[in-house]
Assembly symmetry: C2
């Protein structure tokens, strides 16, 4: 057959950066490999029995809703449940503005397709979440990159950009325990950011998969909650949530809370894409969560992941050369490591893999280029002893350079 491609899509779907990471993730499946490379929840913590009981209940009590076609917007009781969950975060969004998606990844795809033309400006943190760049690879935006420091996105840099007259289609921000750096947007910056969004009518796409996984203090207030507090309804922020990090990513159940101006188009676009998110998965999620499983499960995740974060930070302090720097996340799954200027994380990865330890080099998280001396480490996937051993191997790889 003679395939004539939609060049933009076909080129985007070459997955330039992601195929290297796919290969890396395959490597990490080798025996004895200690992997800091993934972004996977710890599998030993999956509440498989509770999920199994919920599945049985869903199929017994609501076989039709579990198995038949359903509304594109999502299973109504699940949307109610998510609305109730968000209300507890001071994020009172009516179910009518909630769209159930196949994980946040589909949310990113939907928003990119709807709001990005080729060449259109999109503001992102740098570094930013690789999955978002992958989702939008086929849309070919022109990225405006904003620096990230220990208080999250540099809101001053965004303000300068907006004041200069640039109008991004939207700003994409992972507001808490960012992937990849682990940093969290400070309360002051959150307020300033939502004020900026209102002043410049800038749509913000807030991706918040890790917000519940805080290991110090309290949960950060989502930008979406501030938007509602300031404007009486969700007006400037599109909020992406997911069960992937809180219950199980294999379900592929997430949601978008969208301003009214956006909601109907998102629904119609999703209908053409997959009709609706798996009913089976949605009902399983609903039956698992309606009796408070998340309230029991999330504190377990916090306790275990906090211990792992501490173990990795202690090992890094103990083992790594003094000139290496890293972030100290107060939650989430990742930390970000910066080698001295001129050192190359990709080259280090080669030496690390020889010693059976893996991580993700930071360059692909930089849509503007650069970041060759940076790398992302996951600390949530492995128990403390393995984390310590992995850091020992990593330190050896660094010294052997």
């Amino acid at each position: 057959m003679d395939l004539i491609w939609n060049d933009r899509i076909a080129e985007g779907a070459r997955g330039i950066s992601s195929s290297a990471i796919r290969d890396l993730l395959k490597l990490t499946a080798q025996p004895e490999m200690i992997s800091f490379a993934g972004g996977l929840p710890a599998p030993e913590l999956f509440p498989a029995e509770e999920i199994s009981a919920a599945s049985e209940q869903a199929l017994a009590e609501a076989p039709l809703a579990s198995l038949q076609y359903g509304p594109t917007e999502g299973y109504a009781p699940l949307r109610e449940l998510v609305a109730g969950w968000l209300r507890r975060l001071d994020l009172p969004v009516p179910p009518e503005q909630l769209l159930v998606t196949a994980g946040s990844q589909q949310g990113l795809d939907l928003l990119g397709r709807l709001l990005i033309d080729p060449g259109a400006p999109v503001a992102v943190e740098e570094p930013t979440y690789l999955g978002a760049l992958q989702a939008w690879q086929t849309c070919r935006p022109s990225y405006l990159t904003l620096p990230v420091d220990e208080h999250g996105l540099d809101v001053g840099a965004l303000e300068s950009l907006l004041a200069s007259g640039v109008r991004p289609r939207f700003l994409y921000v992972v507001s808490s325990f960012q992937n990849p750096t682990g940093t969290t947007l400070s309360p002051e910056r959150r307020v300033r950011l939502v004020e900026l969004a209102a002043r410049y009518a800038l749509p913000i796409v807030e991706d918040d998969p890790y917000g519940e996984l805080y290991y110090e203090g309290a949960r950060a207030t989502p930008l979406a909650a501030l938007d509602i507090a300031m404007h009486g309804e969700l007006r400037h922020v599109v909020y992406l949530g997911t069960l992937s990090k809180l219950l199980a990513p294999g379900l592929r159940v997430g949601w978008i809370a969208a301003p009214r101006a956006l909601y109907d188009r998102l629904v119609m676009l999703k209908q053409g894409m997959d009709l609706h998110t798996s009913s089976t998965a949605q009902l399983l999620a609903y039956y698992a969560c309606r009796d408070g499983l998340l309230d029991r499960h999330i504190p377990r995740l916090r306790a275990v992941y906090r211990e792992r974060r501490d173990a990795m930070l202690a090992a890094l302090t103990r083992q790594l050369p003094a000139e290496v720097r890293w972030t100290r996340p107060t939650g989430g799954m990742f930390l970000w490591l910066t080698l001295p200027k001129g050192q190359d994380a990709q080259a280090l990865l080669g030496r690390a893999l020889e010693r059976k330890v893996a991580f993700v080099p930071g360059q692909p998280f930089h849509p503007g280029g650069g970041g060759a001396n940076t790398m992302r480490l996951n600390f949530s996937h492995s128990p403390p002893a393995q984390l310590a051993e992995g850091v020992t191997r990593l330190a050896e790889a660094m010294r052997s350079g």
Copy 2:
């Protein structure tokens, strides 16, 4: 917020034709309404207990694969199982060419995004499946429409088109028990079509959700099987299959069997869209099917749906005015009714709804326009007595016009 849309996508996502049908489907949920409008499997036939047992087994035996992130290509044992299933249809595709999708709808979306540029020619049957038109609404192809008669797509018309030098990006065809007409491509035309595809290097997208639901004779040989028989491998045909009509649409589990030239791009594009199809749904499908559930279940569907088709055909013959024509499908879920020229199915729908019977007017299935005097009737969703009563009401509505 100031939303600047990707105009093409935002316009497409207005869902011009589909929103009317969504409203219609809501209407059909009214009490006492007899609906011939949907495309839903009969809910009373869902093997809910067997699916529940499979779910329990999947979560007990393979909790990790059920709940964790999985490969974009799909759960490997499910791809093996589908490959085995296709082998029995003389369609020996290796698992490496199978991509598990969120139903066939996602397959249509993937193929549209990858192969259609705005204005690019795409050949379709007329009438054709509305869901495909919806999936591609945002891609804005220029449709080349080919007539359908009682032997399916008019392959001669396609040959003339190709001989005139036109090169569609692909031909889309529902080869068996077409949605909406219920007609099936004859064996002679199938062979001729695959020969044409080879001669003109024309990619064919074969959508085959209903092929197993035959009520007379044997299963039709898929175009994809002929392609393999003639060329030693899948070369010209992209084959879409799904569990939606055979097991349960709520699972959202389907597959694409793709020529090698296409496969990798499909995988990379899907990865950016949703990472992978719900693991929970895939494993449930795998555990349900591995012990032969489909072999037990599909004959039950055939027996029940055959009886319903017969009931509807008998009622139509008995009740409808002599000048109305309809197809006599040998399988599937739909038949197609043609009113005398000048009569309007949309106007008839108004009178039918007053009498509590619903159907889908045929116009939206015609990308080239026309079809105002046509309509689609589903016969699989209601038991025989209801079908007969619905046809009585429909005949009244016709006579009252």
